[in-house]
């Protein structure tokens, strides 16, 4: 079966291969996790790369590559974004506040 293009479950813990560059974190509103937010991964030129929907706990995760990225969250309660720099493979944490 071909792997589809829908996003896997967000949140929880995963085994990260040593070659993978993972960007992950939470979307928060006044410190409270926001589930069901649309999180967009933008590259260093602001170009759209991928999008996921946060888990009920506000978690999101991308499999990217080393470099500078912006994560932007859209939700009916508000939008927000944050920059993250991934120097190399591994898990890079980032939080997004929406208002």
């Amino acid at each position: 079966m071909t792997n589809g293009c829908g996003a896997p479950t967000q949140g929880g813990s995963i085994d990260v291969a040593t070659t993978e560059t993972v960007l992950e974190g939470k979307v928060l509103s006044d410190g409270t996790p926001v589930g069901g937010a649309f999180v967009r991964l933008l590259d260093s030129t602001g170009e759209f790369t991928a999008e996921v929907v946060t888990s009920p706990e506000g978690d999101f995760r991308f499999f990217a590559a080393p470099g500078s990225w912006t994560v932007r969250a859209l939700h009916r309660s508000g939008n927000g974004q944050a920059d993250v720099s991934a120097s190399g493979p591994g898990v890079h944490a980032v939080e997004i506040a929406v208002a």
Partner: protein, 281 residues
Amino acid sequence: MSRENVLVSAAWSEENLQAPGVVFAEVDEDTTAYEGGHIPGAVRIDWRTELQDPVRRDFIDREGFEKLLSAKGISNDDTVVLYGGNNNWFAAYAYWYFKLYGHTNVKLLDGGRKKWELDGRPLDKEEVTRSATTYSAQEQDLSIRAFRDEVVEAIGNKNLVDVRSPDEFSGKLLAPAHLPQEQAQRGGHIPSAVNVPWSKAANEDGTFKSDEELKALYAEAGFDGSRKTIAYCRIGERSSHTWFALRELLGHEDVKNYDGSWTEYGSLIGVPIELGSGKES
């Protein structure tokens, strides 16, 4: 073809949830979103388990499609409004698929689930049951579906539109960045293809850009309106989104979707592959 014939807005949809002869259908690969809340009255279509043959890598056949739509309670003369997550990727795929089997009145909900949710419109968990129908499908309309040999022959003479992200196009990534990069086939793109990521055809809220913006986008990428066109991506769903923009919104006549896409092409023995941005030469 005009936008009003193929797209409906979220506002129109909310006003027409009970309209006779209109059936809303949510299409996704992962249908847990539907279970968590769907547009009131919408039936569910599972891209993976209902639209794909369970054994061969192909679609369900004409008879299978007739059975599926009959069981969903969809009639030949119903207007089917499709929507889904992932910026309507699978809904656009289903739209193309409904056209392939000759359904007359099918539309996409502009912006899909994302726009609906961002607007704060109602979702419910009611079980939806519609009485069964006797649906009759046509033979596949192969004027909108491309197969591998035709794709190889199209190199250098048709528009080949690769709608994946630039990193997938260049061969750096084998899948979109929200997925693990575990695929084994070769990376790169079909020689002579232009790269116009599907996302450039959509606004941030998932709605399609205006016709003027779309025309400018494809013209700038080197799309030649006088040539025939084949769109592809990795598995054919993002390219359905672009197929929709090119054929249904902009009215280009000979546009096919290559559903085998990169997972087929990148695994073929002996076909040419180009790496990099494709812009150096």
